[in-house]
Assembly symmetry: C2
Homo-oligomer: 196 residues x 2
C-alpha cells in the first residue's frame, strides 16, 4: 500500500471487474485510491494505459505460471491434466484480472490490442500443442485442435465469472471437476471409439 501506482492498479482491477472499463471513470478510480483524479495522471499517462498495464501483467503472469507448471512433464495426458489445473487455479486465484483480460480488450488502442492478442495467442498455442500431440499419439480425439483448445480454455475461464471464494465449492473441487470433464471429453468415449 506504500506504492500509490500499485494501489491505483489494485483499485482499478476491482472497479473494472465490478462496473466494466467504460463505466468506470477516472474519478471513481481516484476516489477509491484516496487521491484527486489529476494525481492519477502522474502515475499513468491515460486511463487506457492503466487498462493496458493490467492486461499485460495478467497475460505475462498466466503464461509464466502455465509454463512453470508443465515444465518437465513428458506424458501428454499428464501435461493436459496439469495445464487444466494450472489454468483453472490461476483464473480462480486472480479472478478479477482474468475476467477483465477476457472482456475489456475493446478498451485498448489498436497497438495495445495487438500486443495483448499476440500474448493470448501464445498462451493458447501451448494448449493446442498438447491436444495435437495427444491426437497423434492416439490418446485424444482428432477433432479440430483450435476449436478444442477454445472449448477447454473458455470452459475453465468461465469459472472466473461465477466463482465465489466463499461459495459452496473450493478451487480444488472445481479444478478436479473440470480436469475430469475435459480429459473425458478429449479421450475416446465408449460410444465413439473407432468412429471418428
Amino acid at each position: 500500500m506504500g506504492n500509490m501506482k500499485e494501489k491505483i492498479k489494485y483499485v482499478s482491477i476491482d472497479l473494472f471487474f465490478k462496473k466494466g472499463y467504460f463505466a468506470t471513470s477516472v474519478s471513481d478510480i481516484a476516489r477509491g485510491s484516496g487521491i484527486q483524479k489529476a494525481s492519477m495522471y502522474y502515475h499513468y499517462p491515460s486511463k487506457e494505459e492503466l487498462l493496458f498495464s493490467i492486461l499485460k501483467s495478467t497475460m505475462d503472469d498466466v503464461t509464466a505460471y502455465l509454463k512453470n507448471s508443465i515444465s518437465g512433464i513428458r506424458n501428454v495426458e499428464e501435461q493436459m491434466r496439469t495445464a487444466v489445473q494450472s489454468h483453472v487455479r490461476f483464473h480462480l486465484d486472480r479472478q478479477k484480472e482474468n475476467f477483465i483480460a477476457n472482456s475489456e480488450l475493446r478498451g485498448l488502442t489498436q497497438d495495445h490490442y495487438r500486443i495483448i492478442v499476440k500474448k493470448r495467442y501464445e498462451y493458447e498455442r501451448i494448449f493446442q500443442n498438447i491436444i495435437q500431440k495427444g491426437g497423434e499419439q492416439g490418446i485424444f480425439v482428432k477433432d479440430d485442435v483450435k476449436i478444442l483448445s477454445y472449448a477447454i480454455l473458455t470452459l475453465c475461464t468461465s469459472g472466473a465469472s461465477w466463482f465465489k471464494p466463499t461459495g459452496r465449492l473450493t478451487v480444488d473441487e472445481i479444478a478436479a471437476i473440470y480436469e475430469k470433464f475435459i480429459i473425458n471429453g478429449l479421450k475416446q468415449g465408449q460410444v465413439w471409439s473407432g468412429a471418428t
Copy 2:
C-alpha cells in the same frame, strides 16, 4: 426495414457487439439508423431500455427455441445431444445478440437485471435437469450439476465470441464437435469408470 423501431434495435445490436454498450453513444445509434439522436427517444425511453429490449427478446427466444427442440424426446442422452445442438445453433445464428446477453448485463438497471437473470436461470435449469436425470440413470457422471451445466453452456456460448460465418468451419461442424466433446465429458470414460 419499414419499421424504425426494429431498425434501431438491429443497428444497436451491431454496435453493442462491436464496441460494447457503454462505448456506444446514442449518437452512434442514430447515425447508423439514419435519424437524429433525439428521434431515438420517440421509440425507446432511454438507451438502457433499448439494451433491456434486446436482452429480453434474446432470452425469450433462446428458451423457446430450446424447449421446442427437446420437446417429445424421452431418452436422456438424446435430450442432451439435442439441447447442445440447439444451444450452439441459436448462439451461432444470433451471435451478436447472444454475445451482448452474456457481456452487457451490467448496463441494466437493478429491476431489469433481475428480470434477465431470472430468465437465464430458467434456461440453465433445463440443462441442469437433464444432467441430473442422466446422473440418476447412471449414464452421466455424478459431479456437481450446476458446475457441469455452466461448463457446458459457456463452452458453447463462447463460440459466439470467435465464430465467423465466413470462417473455416460451418455451424454444423462446430455443433458436432461440441456435442461429441460434451457427451464424452458427461459419460464415464474408461479412466474413471467406477471411481467417482
